[in-house]
């Protein structure tokens, strides 16, 4: 018989089902000690028009959480709230609360730069800087003054992003000489180099071919042991493959026919794809809508 391991299991290894508590309607509610973000009645509007209304959910530690939904449902708007990116858009207004380890992300005195250091982001199109591979990864640590053992930090980040074996021998080459899939992994390495706790990914594989996509998905699976990952994806099968939890967003029309995004259902991925509770989710995941 195998010796019992002393290594604490990650949340996904323990049954997520056991950690997710449910309210009297069977929806997931608080899973106390593992909550990274608690979103309370969040709404976002651009120049007065609502883009997203009244979203409440919790993001759990060491999980991959996917946001799915049709175009315009506010899923990208939502993910951008987690690291203050909407604040860069003039006219954007945020209501409600996002608590990050019980601290209000939009409370007074919160430094967006500090937020983005802890909550990194990878975008749809790989966006390496026109610099060397090394300088791309070292960029964040240099800006933040994390320069002790920079070489080691760069190597570790590239290792974690499963890119070291391919680029370790040519760190001085231009990042732009890499393939699209490699560039995206470089962006992930750049994000990891500042040791964030959360990685936000907005359609990270939609510009990549199937092989590069698989590598990113495998990487997400590996990284969740150390990081909490939130991913927006158009590809439902990708959500089904990589995510532990899935949130389905949809579009609601208001009294004056204005469109805004709403959260329809949030649950274990397996539940969303085999036995969704809401008819709108069923219609979306079976391809009958959107």
């Amino acid at each position: 018989m195998a010796e019992p391991s002393n290594t604490p299991a990650t949340i996904s290894e323990v049954s997520l089902e056991k950690l997710v508590q449910r309210d009297d309607r069977g929806r997931p509610s608080r899973a106390a000690q593992n909550v990274v973000f608690e979103v309370q009645n969040l709404g976002v509007s651009y120049d007065g028009s609502p883009a997203l209304k009244d979203v409440s959910l919790e993001i759990y530690q060491n999980c991959v959480t996917a946001f799915i939904g049709p175009s315009g449902c506010g899923k990208s708007t939502f993910i951008r709230c987690f690291n203050h990116l909407n604040a860069l858009i003039p006219g954007a207004r945020i209501q409600g609360k996002i608590l990050y380890h019980e601290q209000d992300l939009y409370g007074p005195g919160v430094d967006p730069v500090e937020v983005r250091k802890r909550i990194g982001m990878v975008f749809q199109k790989p966006n390496p800087f026109p610099k060397s591979i090394y300088d791309n990864v070292a960029f964040g640590p240099r800006v933040l003054g994390m320069t002790g053992d920079l070489d080691g930090r760069v190597e570790r980040a590239l290792q974690q992003a499963a890119l070291w074996d391919e680029v370790g021998h040519r760190l001085k080459s231009s990042a732009l000489s890499l393939s699209g899939g490699q560039q995206q992994r470089l962006c992930i390495a750049r994000c990891l180099a500042v040791e964030p706790e959360v990685i936000l990914m907005d359609e990270p594989a939609s510009a990549l071919d199937p092989i590069a996509t698989t590598r990113i998905e495998d990487l997400m699976h590996e990284l969740k042991a150390e990081y909490t990952i939130v991913v927006v994806t158009h590809n439902m099968q990708q959500a089904a493959r990589v995510a532990d939890m899935t949130a389905f967003f949809s579009i609601e029309r208001g009294e004056e026919n204005e469109r805004s995004g709403i959260l329809v259902e949030y649950d274990l991925t397996e539940k969303i794809f085999t036995q969704p509770s809401d008819k709108r989710t069923e219609d979306y995941v079976t391809g009958r809508f959107g």
Binding site: M236, Q237, A240, F273, T274, Q275, P276, T281, E282, V285, T286, G287, R288
Partner: protein, 226 residues
């Protein structure tokens, strides 16, 4: 709306229901051959199984292809999985009909015990009723009809127990004892056909509710002889 997927699901379901009709024909044939001691009809039932097998393999292949190409989810996924199981249950039922036909051929020269033949007629009729109810519950997504299969199955089980009692009282004539032993297997086949019909009912309930549950708990059954 995924028109192609919906079309494929509809076609698969009607092919599955057709397979059910073939199984009903196989059952009727095997019971008639048994009752009339008709080895030629028994041969026809045995040969007819190829048709059921063809239908079974066709459905299996189409489901594999649909899963690979269409990646169905939620209700569609449950329908595909329920069809995959139901297909297997139907094919097994047809195999039991073949066994009944083979046993009929082995003993057609022996005069049967009439009490047992009455029991078989009743069990056969119940099994037919159960297959119809199972197919109907599946086609109409009718959980109430699916659940009613448990009571019908109890009647088949009772028939099976009655047959056991009759066999023990058949006496010492070696020919009739051999016949009796063969008939225990026939009875067992009918009993299993009933069980598979209940299993199809369970698939209907899974399809509708999303949760799989056994209607009866075989491992904790009250009776050991059923």
């Amino acid at each position: 709306m995924r028109a192609t997927l919906q079309e494929e699901l509809d076609t698969l379901q009607s092919t599955l229901l057709e397979e059910g009709e073939l199984v009903l024909r196989a059952l009727r044939g095997s019971m008639e051959a048994l009752e009339n001691r008709d080895p030629e009809l028994a041969d026809e039932v045995i040969a007819f199984d190829d048709e059921v097998d063809r239908q079974y393999v066709g459905i299996e292949e189409n489901i594999a292809s649909l899963l690979a190409r269409q990646a169905p989810a939620a209700g569609d996924l449950r329908l595909v999985l329920a069809m995959l199981h139901t297909n297997l249950h139907l094919e097994r039922m047809a195999d039991y009909c073949v066994t009944i036909a083979k046993l009929t051929k082995l003993v057609y020269g022996i005069t049967p015990d009439q009490r047992m033949m009455v029991a078989f007629q009743e069990m056969g009729a119940r099994c037919e009723e159960m297959i119809r109810a199972a197919l109907q519950s599946f086609a109409n997504r009718d959980v109430a009809v699916a659940e009613s299969l448990v009571e019908l199955d109890e009647l088949v089980d009772r028939g099976n127990r009655r047959v056991m009692g009759h066999v023990l009282s058949l006496g010492s004539n070696p020919a009739i004892r051999e016949w009796g032993l063969r008939m225990i297997v026939v009875s067992r086949c009918l009993e299993r056909i009933g069980d598979h019909a209940v299993d199809i009912g369970e698939q209907t309930a899974y399809l509708v509710t999303g949760e799989f549950r056994e209607f009866t708990d075989a491992s904790n059954a009250e009776r050991l002889d059923s």
